[in-house]
Symmetry: D2
Subunit: 367 residues, 4 copies
């Protein structure tokens, strides 16, 4: 794809949960090369293997064990072209802005810039073309930038739902409304995250800020980019056909994999049948796969026929968690169609999305 | 209430999960006295303590340990006036019919007669007045009965949802539609029920027959009784204002307590506000409590103010599981109002409902 | 017992996990009356119901909801005679010492003073007579005290093992060695305690400091008090018959109740048979029960006959968790006898022990 | 190894838990080729994909989906040289005997023949040389056999303990006694196995027959083969230096991976230090690895330095579960040394052992 070109990358928040996933995935990447690691001042100066409380099933990749961790300052990442950010929201804003200012391409899993009018919010299986917004982002930046930009990916629970929703809109025209109820894994809360005392033998029917993210991010992702009266490009938030999204978010005692029950109503009457929906979901191929992004899954959506699938424990590792699984496609007595979707919150719901976004940008020549 | 009168009762399916709950609850009852126990032929002839694989936290009540278990034949229950049935559906139909024929009052937790046009389906906190149907049930029976009848209570997941729905209809008029997503405890599947291999670190997004039960039973419970053209009483299935119910049922690794996310749309415009809904739910008092049924909860619905409640582990034992807990009452962007409801599936979702139904019937003089 | 006398008590660390248990238990106590609550400066000045993140199944007792929380300084507890300490070890030392200096009786669940040569370490079902050491504690204090003293109770995992060990020594003479392997509940780690990510679908075969506590505390508790050469009383650490204790501590995904596998070797040859051991354990009655301590369990040890008991979920609430359960008493091919013991780590393993110790002291006239 | 020779194999009990593991592993094997599948009569005649309730994370291997399942009769396996048996003990005895009689090499995970005086019980990382017993097994069979034989592997919980015990004996001479306390995963009980109601938030301190297996099998595996007075070869059951083993077995809410706390006493005085033990364990290489068995792990034992490892969730998949992990090697105050061992009960504890045993036999020319 890149004619053998290698790209040096850095990881910000390298000792955290998302950072560990970035490192696991990038260690085996065909063209991204881990070159620098950033973390908090108390980790800076240590070998990565000493700084991190490694919590992955696979051991620490050998090539990063001895890398010296730095503070998250651009001066330590000058030999990188790309940084992946797994930073917590309380520090991600300033740090990511400083890396963009230093002309680095930032692919962030944090929420801070998702609502920025010039920052694309990209679920790579859905809307990679939103990457085009980075030109305006650079141009309007003060000072204008040549190479630096920020691209965000979506919240983990948004990601799971929006993939089948996007496919349905492509196949059957706009959706009118959507009700989503999530059953989210504890790994979505990072580490230490949820105290075990709160979740063993329990459900917590609330995740702070999560429902708002699903309801807002879905519109930005499924919407288009249009020109406003002043000739600026703007995200239209699905405004040509208003889409109402209502989310209820729950935490369940599952380690990995968000399960979501989704009901949708189509604008078109009559709506598609369950069988038509199944075929559309199963048949979809993402642009990032077609274009050759190496981390893109062959099957964007796997549609289960068994009545009791997908299940997080059995299906979360399908295609290394890079696609999503859908099951139980059937009629809804209130809206039109309902189904279950499972997405791996730490793979396509987090680090994998950032990486595919960067692969796409590299292939497109933006890096 | 009954002027000191005691009523002998039997328990059918006494060694099963629901049967054990009946026995725990009835052992301390003010006017029901456990007099006979029925189970399968392989348990018959044994002392209860030998026949049962007791799985309750509280020990076997001392007064039942030595009772000899019989087969589920009416001849062994002639000194009882009431039987509670915790039988499995594969045998409940014939056995319950035979007890009714023997002029016993049968209060059943099984599904077999729930759809019978002359058998009331009663959630005691909601529609105890449906008990009136038993007169027609006796009259139309062949041969006509003097005392025998069958009353059923609802499926555990239906029960949790229908209590707040009923209160909302009483306060604000008919509902138009309702979407329910459940996260159900494993105890709802009986014993041995779910293999641990299927549910540890997992969600199973399917429970056979459960969604159909919620969607159908809700209509019978919330509907009224009307006269048909031939002068017969019939359950109207909420037909004066059609109500569409859509359910998605999931099993989660929780031992006890079904959590359900519910969204509703009211017929009336504008719909009530979240605060009005909260007040209506909190302020409701059930008829069975007012009339003095000893197992009825003082608070039909406890409305939580905290953002993260109700939770099954913390709230399932409130009022001995006889009421329901609601939380997170808020606007729904697609329908009108959404909330979370928690019901103890083995208490108000099963044995406790049967017992309150029988208490009501006794107080009403039908036993 | 106390002729109707009521005793005002305070709770230190009132908002923590152990503090919440103290409050739940004391709210219904026949002669202790909650009068003052102490917590960290950030809670001080607030109503208890506002300061606490209540995590108990039973609601906050109504009489403490409105109590104003104070900092843990003796000046706020002058109307109390007793304080119960659920403080964390990092602050318990100084605070408890200051309360003793202010002539208060301190019953502490913290580890700080357990190894103090003048502070008794009392498992109330085992060695309440060690309370006698408080006279020397007062006398040697600088300045000497009239009423103030500190009594500690044991670590939760020590408590479970030491109860049957003490009974065996009383019945069959000294033990020679003991191997203990624990499977401990997550509630033993306080709140937030163990991250769920670390314990779901997992065992953690290590608990910091826990094995040392079991190996050391057991000797102090099972040992006697003797006079040394200078006429001082000293804990003999079981030195007349050296006892070797080896512990292996594990954390398992259980909410409440520590299960421990114990093998023992007796000094006496031949050792007692399993049946003799069972009878000794079942037949034991504690002094604190005999003397009328209201929180003491009627049965110190319940001996299960079923092969698969005790189990934490089924047995941890027996006698409100104030006794211990033993099962599987059988021969050990390496030592003499092995068995399983279950103790409720948050009841007899923590707050309940402190309270019984205080009841005993009150009945003995030391308060 | 085999010069490109391929060996047709069959799997008995192919639809069960162990059978599914055999199929997953054999589908990618370098020289074993799945040729026939056997299961109960109700599965016979169906395509494997239809007959099986597949419960593995990896999908059904494509090459077995369409294989027609047969009853477990030798006539259907005539083109196989080897059969692997994942049969339940209630049927394994007769079936395995019939396959041996038909001159097939049977590698069985079932317990039925483990105690047979002519059947080797082989943990491949420990005692593959016991394979030599099959010559006598064939010779003494009636009628004598040319190729048929049965080899068993050990119980899953025995396997975990016996690997480090064997290494310790090789390095430091015979052991005198050993106390083992297990915390076993639910997958060890097969499917459906343990009801979720019994194990969520719980420990079950009993597994039927398990302690006896550990105590007996360990002696057969660690012992040698000697000639008796009549010139027959016999397993000496470690009788030259009697070894006493005491086991306590517990089930915990873990899906996969048995964790065991082990204390040992050596015959030699003084015993080795913890550091010597660590080095011996870490340095050991198994014969099956040296000889090139493709499923043998490079590291027989991985010794963790971190205080809190091994843990089942993090370590069970190390080397595809084919080795074992040891941690916390330290002195025992009662015996000499104690440590924690983790073994993957469904890999080295079951199917992987059978397969390595067969690889060894093939390389040795016995197949």
């Amino acid at each position: 794809m890149l004619d053998g070109r290698k790209i040096n990358v850095g990881v910000l928040g390298a000792t955290g949960t998302v950072g560990q996933r970035f490192i696991s995935l990038l260690a085996e990447h065909p063209f991204f090369v881990i070159h620098a690691l950033g973390a908090s001042p108390r980790s800076a100066g240590k070998h990565y293997a000493k700084a991190v409380n490694w919590k992955q099933v696979r051991p620490i990749p050998s090539q990063v064990r001895e890398i010296i961790v730095h503070e998250c300052k651009p001066e330590h990442f000058l030999e990188c072209e790309v940084v992946f950010s797994g930073l917590d929201a309380d520090v991600a804003g300033d740090i990511e802005a400083s890396f963009r200012l230093a002309e680095l391409a930032v692919f962030s899993n944090a929420k801070n810039f998702r609502r920025d009018p010039n920052v694309p919010l990209i679920v790579p299986l859905v809307n990679p073309t939103h990457l085009s917004m980075i030109r305006q982002q650079r141009a309007l930046h003060s000072p204008p930038l040549k190479k630096g930009f920020i691209v965000t990916n979506a919240n983990c629970s948004t990601t799971g739902a929006v993939v089948p929703l996007a496919v349905l809109e492509k196949a059957f025209g706009p959706l009118e409304s959507c009700i989503i109820t999530t059953m989210q894994a504890i790994s979505g809360a990072g580490y230490p995250g949820l105290p075990s005392f709160d979740i063993l033998d329990n459900v917590v029917p609330y995740i702070s800020g999560e429902e708002e993210k699903i309801e807002w991010e879905t519109l930005k992702i499924l919407g288009g980019i249009v020109d406003d009266d002043e000739g600026q490009k703007v995200f239209d938030m699905h405004s040509r056909q208003p889409l109402r999204v209502s989310a209820s978010c729950n935490r369940v005692p599952v380690i990995e994999g968000h399960t979501e029950c989704v009901s949708v109503r189509f604008a078109r009457r009559p709506p598609p049948s369950p069988q038509q929906v199944r075929e559309a979901l199963q048949g979809y191929t993402s642009d990032v796969y077609t274009m050759g992004c190496p981390s893109a899954p062959r099957h964007t959506i796997f549609v289960h026929e068994e009545a009791d699938r997908p299940q997080p424990r059995l299906d979360r590792d399908y295609q290394a968690g890079a696609g999503v699984c859908v099951g139980r496609v059937r009629q809804c007595r209130v809206l039109d169609i309902k189904f279950v979707v499972l997405a791996n919150n730490v793979a396509i719901g987090a680090a994998t999305s950032s990486i595919i976004n960067a692969e796409y940008a590299a292939i497109k020549g933006e890096i």
